[in-house]
């Protein structure tokens, strides 16, 4: 079954086109990296895949549902999709770390939200930060909390926007092992990045260039120096 189907999708920010004519199919358990320079349209594509943006033209189907203004607020869809934003300050809006991590389980899950919250905090090793205000944390800590806020409701389809930006070496290593764990659990993962050194476990690479998909295929393209230079990420 397709997790996402995009047919000739375009999106513009106030008359300024961000992505144009993008067609894409994502299958279950794929690990896709979106690569491209800043401003290539990676983040916009992630927001459409997260069913948060309605395409300006074209059709986007996520888990079989056509994305409209109404479906962006569909709880059933929301609990199946998780997105980790590039800027953790956007993602963390609650008074304490615990409140932030427990926010989604309280509204999107049916079981005991405390269990989900504790598990996510343990996975991201942030249990000791539970009573801290998110604005007090270091950039690396904020990033870990931001990831925990998504892991806490256990979505099937997880999107990461530049997940290793602002992370130190240890943080990046920990992210890699988290990724391995999520892959083993059968999650479908899409990661937007311009950091080639952090690309691991990829089953598919999508190269974005000036708002369009320029390459969609296997990860061997990462060895093509000329192409990476064209994308301006080398």
């Amino acid at each position: 079954m397709d997790v996402a189907q995009l047919e000739r999708v375009s999106y513009s920010y106030r008359n300024s086109p961000a992505i144009a004519d993008v067609s894409l199919h994502i299958k279950e358990s794929e690990v896709i990296y979106l690569i491209g320079e800043n401003g290539a349209g990676k983040s916009t594509l992630l927001l459409i895949l997260a069913a948060l943006f309605v395409p300006t033209s074209g059709i986007a189907r996520i888990f079989g549902k056509v994305i409209t203004e109404k479906s962006t607020k569909d709880i059933g869809l929301r609990r199946r999709i998780g997105i980790v934003f590039q800027d953790p300050d956007v993602q963390l809006f609650s008074p304490t770390v615990y409140d932030d991590v427990s926010f989604a389980p309280r509204h999107l899950t049916t079981g005991d939200y405390k269990l989900y919250t504790e598990k996510a905090m343990e996975t991201m090793k942030i249990s000791h930060l539970r009573q801290r205000h998110p604005y007090e944390l270091s950039e690396g800590e904020k990033k870990r909390v931001a990831i925990a806020t998504v892991l806490s409701y256990d979505p099937e389809f997880i999107l990461f926007d530049e997940p290793t930006a602002n992370m130190d070496g240890r943080g990046r290593r920990e992210f890699k092992s988290l990724l391995k764990k999520l892959i083993d659990e059968g999650k479908t993962i899409v990661i937007a990045t311009h950091l080639l050194r952090d690309i691991v476990y990829a089953t598919r690479i999508i190269g974005m260039y000036k708002g369009k998909i320029d390459y969609d295929g296997d990860p061997y393209v990462l060895k093509n120096k000329k192409y990476l230079e064209k994308l301006n990420i080398l």
Binding site: L52, R78, V90, S94, F103, R106, Y135
Partner: protein, 270 residues
């Protein structure tokens, strides 16, 4: 440079919340909110400058005993209220007490300015006492229990969360400016520098609010205050009647004497 340093210091002080644990910190937030409401009502209905001064004196005493950090907020009062209060001295009709060229300062104008400054100081002090001695989430939960409208709580919640973020951006921008300023800046030059900074902050906060709404939506937020307040914190601890009684007694005394105190001011004979 002085402006940059002063602004940076005020940004630092913005984050100094709940660092001490005085007795006032231990009083529950519902009681403190009720006391703030009493003080704000008194501030509006008291007419006498003496009554207002006594109320401010009471709050000053409370701050001196429990939370001296409150006085830092007084720095902003002359800056913002002064702009409104000073013209009132000259434009309010009444008995002239001094002449400044062709305009005269009036006794009634002076009283109006003092009234305004006292009221501002009272409002700022009681709200600062509350926010500096109470965790923000407790204040929100108490407002919820006191049936304050949902939209008001939501706005307060998001303002609090992102005011720090905006303060950080301002701090970083000002530090970057500071690193590039050599010598003493001229007033006109500084206005030219700070005007784009304010514009930039406005644009950033506008962009930020759009992104935050998307991020909240991504985790199932649909503009309901209960989605914001952790259920662990939403609990009624019971009002501390001893603390509230002090304010009720103060209100009773001030309201009783306000009519008499209004005559204690000397009338200007010229």
């Amino acid at each position: 440079m002085n402006f940059v340093n002063a602004t940076l210091k005020s940004i630092e002080s913005l984050e100094e919340i709940n660092v001490n644990h005085s007795r006032l910190h231990r009083i529950n937030s519902e009681s403190k909110i009720i006391s703030v409401i009493i003080v704000l009502i008194l501030m509006i209905i008291l007419n006498s400058i003496v009554s207002l001064f006594l109320l401010l004196l009471f709050l000053t005493g409370e701050s001196l005993i429990f939370e001296r950090n409150v006085f830092k907020t007084w720095i902003f009062v002359p800056l913002f209220t002064g702009i409104i209060a000073i013209p009132a001295i000259f434009i309010t009709p009444g008995t002239p007490i001094a002449h400044l060229g062709f305009i005269a300062a009036t006794y009634e104008g002076l009283l109006a300015a003092i009234h305004l400054i006292l009221r501002t100081l009272i409002a700022v002090t009681c709200v600062a006492l509350l926010t500096k001695t109470t965790p923000w989430e407790d204040i929100l939960a108490s407002l919820n229990l006191l049936r304050i409208p949902e939209i008001f709580i939501l706005i307060l919640f998001l303002t609090f969360r992102y005011i720090f973020f905006l303060a950080r951006i301002t701090e970083a921008t000002l530090l970057s400016l500071k690193s590039r300023i050599i010598g003493k800046e001229k007033i006109l030059q500084s206005w030219k520098m700070y005007a784009p900074l304010v514009g930039n902050l406005f644009i950033k906060s506008y962009e930020m609010q759009e992104k935050i709404y998307i991020a909240m939506n991504a985790r199932g937020f649909h503009m309901k205050k209960d989605e914001m307040l952790s259920p662990v914190r939403v609990r009624l601890k019971g009002i501390n009647w001893g603390y509230v009684a002090v304010f009720i007694f103060l209100a009773f005394i001030l309201l009783w004497t306000d009519g008499d105190l209004i005559w204690m001011l000397p009338s200007w004979s010229g």
